[in-house]
């Protein structure tokens, strides 16, 4: 897949087998901003990059899990900033391409107890490292500014006996987990 490949909205809708209005909604809410060309009035059309394609696929999966749009937007923002940060060291890095490589680390999004968003990153078969968590109740517009503190959580096993906590992030009651790497590898691009 070429990193500079572009896609129309109808093409992505067809390839992901979803109605176009679901993609339009994600754009209008600011979750995904078309890299190539945004709609600018009647008759103009949105054109997306391969990273946008991945963003839309991830966003749709998260919406299928009933995650609020504002939380999906925060997750997509991190993915976009993640790629931009990597491009400072690796100028030709493209997120969708990078995650589709055989040896690519597994990047996951974890929703803990419906309250916090974490990201995990690790090599296949190894303990992942956790990053987060983002308080979902502070994602609304009037949230106080971040105070510079961040949770540091290391993998400490996954309790399954009903006594301990769940997952590497130690959720108390429940968790949702989405592999961004798996979504990237399943992208119908080639």
């Amino acid at each position: 897949m070429a990193g500079d490949e572009s896609f129309t909205l109808s093409e992505i809708a067809r390839r992901l087998d979803v109605p176009q209005h679901r993609l339009i909604h994600l754009c209008e809410k600011g979750v995904v901003v078309p890299d190539v060309h945004d709609a600018a009035g009647r008759g103009s059309s949105r054109v997306f990059s391969s990273r946008n394609f991945l963003e839309l696929a991830v966003a749709l999966r998260l919406r299928d899990m009933m995650l609020p749009v504002v939380a999906v937007g925060a997750i997509v923002h991190v993915l976009r900033a993640f790629e931009a940060q990597l491009q400072q060291d690796l100028p030709h890095f493209a997120l969708a391409d990078g995650l589709r490589k055989d040896r690519a680390p597994d990047l996951r999004v974890i929703i803990s107890d419906g309250q916090r968003i974490y990201f995990s990153l690790g090599a296949a078969g190894k303990d992942p490292k956790l990053f987060g968590g983002i308080p979902m109740d502070q994602l609304e517009g009037d949230a106080p500014a971040w105070d510079g503190q961040i949770d540091v959580v290391r993998f400490r096993g996954n309790a399954r006996n009903g006594v301990g906590r769940l997952g590497p992030e130690h959720s108390h009651y429940g968790r949702l987990e989405l592999s961004v790497t798996a979504v990237a590898r399943a992208l119908p691009i080639e």
Partner: protein, 58 residues
């Protein structure tokens, strides 16, 4: 599905507006993810190089 989505979308502000306050946190997480990604890729490359050397020695 469409009914549930429509109900859930009422009163939702745009994502670009909503995360303004937490944007520094989101960007900080992205930086840490990028550093870890590079570390993992370098470790994988080192492992590949070590495996190649051991095959050559055998």
């Amino acid at each position: 599905m469409s009914i549930m989505l429509a109900a859930g979308e009422q009163g939702v502000v745009g994502a670009e507006e909503a995360d303004l306050a937490l944007r520094p946190l989101l960007d900080h997480i992205a930086v840490e993810l990028a550093q870890e990604y590079i570390r993992l890729m370098e470790a994988a490359a080192d492992n590949d190089a070590a495996a190649s050397l051991s095959v050559a020695d055998a």
